[in-house]
């Protein structure tokens, strides 16, 4: 939520020829190159197993590519910079249960800022601000595991917001949400000033929220165009495990 003091012309993400193979040798990413300007909102689409989650995990050094470079706001990802990069790229994981481990919502949202060594008042201020932003201010003392999936997902986003990372990457944020929770989540993301990268199968959300779409399949960038063009390219979508919106009755935004 804090404004970053970085020159706005610096790329938020500058990914060059990223190559990642899983420990068993299966290729996960093949020469992925992607540049994202500050404040852009980008969709990452593609079939299951395309490498979307693997790509997101590479953005803040949870997974480390065998070759290629990741630059976040001008800073290259290295062993020395990984902790500082994690203060710049927040990841929201697809399953909020993986992300929420504390006995209360407030403890969980406070984890990130506490780890950064901020003082108590600042931690509380940030945590409360983040909870208010996701509409969960009244849930501070609740236990995360007793909440609904929609509530968990919003708290999971708050745990990232409280860190003040200028870039947020989300993995399937709308999956399994009821229509109202989904709508609220999309509105929340729209209101955020952050650079946002969303891996998703929810093309209606892409049309609604994210002006640019990157198609990933087999660990490769297949396409990278304005979302409107990609979403109207039925042949492209069908070729990569997706379906044009009109086919299941959603109007284009």
């Amino acid at each position: 939520m804090t404004a970053s003091p970085i020159d706005p012309s610096v790329l938020a993400l500058d990914i060059e020829a990223l190559r990642y193979a899983y420990p068993d040798g299966t290729p996960g990413l093949r020469d992925v190159t992607l540049r994202v300007a500050q404040g852009e909102k980008v969709a990452l689409i593609g079939p299951n197993g395309a490498g979307k989650s693997t790509f997101l995990l590479n953005l803040n050094g949870i997974l480390r590519a065998q070759s290629g470079t990741v630059r976040v706001l001008g800073e290259a990802l290295t062993d020395a910079s990984v902790r500082s990069i994690r203060g710049r790229v927040g990841l929201q994981f697809s399953n909020p249960d993986d992300q929420l481990f504390s006995p209360t919502v407030l403890d969980d949202v406070a984890y990130g800022p506490l780890h950064m060594g901020l003082d108590r008042d600042e931690v509380l201020r940030r945590s409360r601000e983040a909870l208010a932003a996701v509409g969960m201010a009244d849930f501070e003392t609740r236990a995360p595991h007793r909440m609904s999936l929609g509530q968990k997902k919003r708290v999971a986003i708050a745990t990232v917001l409280s860190m003040g990372t200028p870039i947020i990457a989300l993995d399937e944020p709308t999956a399994s949400l009821d229509p109202m929770s989904r709508r609220e989540l999309i509105d929340l993301l729209r209101a955020l000033p952050h650079t946002i990268l969303v891996a998703t199968h929810d093309l209606a959300m892409v049309a609604d929220l994210l002006p640019r779409t990157v198609v990933l399949d087999g660990g490769e960038v297949i396409d990278d165009r304005p979302s409107e063009d990609v979403l109207n390219d039925a042949a492209l979508l069908y070729a990569h495990g997706l379906e044009p919106l009109s086919a299941h009755g959603h109007p284009h935004a």
Binding site: D24, N60, S84, G112
Partner: protein, 264 residues
Amino acid sequence: MSVASVLGDRYAERDSAVHRADARVKLPAALLYILAIACVPEGAWTALALLAAPIAVVAAAARLGPLFILRRTFLALPFVAVAVPLIFTRPGTVAFEVPVLGWHGTHEGLTAVATILARSWLSVTVAVLLTASTPIVETLRALRVLGTPRLLVGTVFFTYRYFDVIGSEAVRMIRARDSRSAALPGRHAGGRVWWRATVVGHMVGSLFARSLDRSERVYAAMQARGFTGELRFLSTPAVRGVEVAVAAAFVLAGFAVVLGDRLA
């Protein structure tokens, strides 16, 4: 990242007669052979060498190389360390003295420990051969056929089945935590040790709660499909006579070695 690759299935796929042999034959044969090894008296080196020979034959037939077997048996060997004090506690003729401490190692103690080492290593090798040549589900089926209580077999089966699931869950939780473990320039990151330990405690508790929830869902889904407490298998082919004969020959050879040594 598969947790099973570290701690789970020990099956090593090969095309061999040992692999194809029925677990209902292999399991009792392996257990009886280990019993024979356990019966070897202290210092009976010839008997131990004779018992090692059939094991080497089975390993070769199963196409499991000596390096593969050595690597796996080393995992079990640290447990043998508990036998080492015997070198000093067994009474007998003094073989050496530890400087400074003044402990006396005896010849009898050395023989005892060397025998325990050899017996343990041979037994572990037999177990490694069994687990490497038999899918775990087959081993469990054999255990059930041999009368192991179904609750015990079921527990092992589900531990095996869900180990990787829960392990991956733990890996994802650690990743999610690390992703939020950032540092700011000029500030001490990471908080106090006690706080970090508390976080780990909460993660373990959360994993336990999730496993409990999962077990209830799994059980409900199994009941919905008619589960009554007994694991069932698609088909149970008849045990082949040849396999029984070969296994019996190995076990009998083992006991003959032990008996021969005792009588000699």
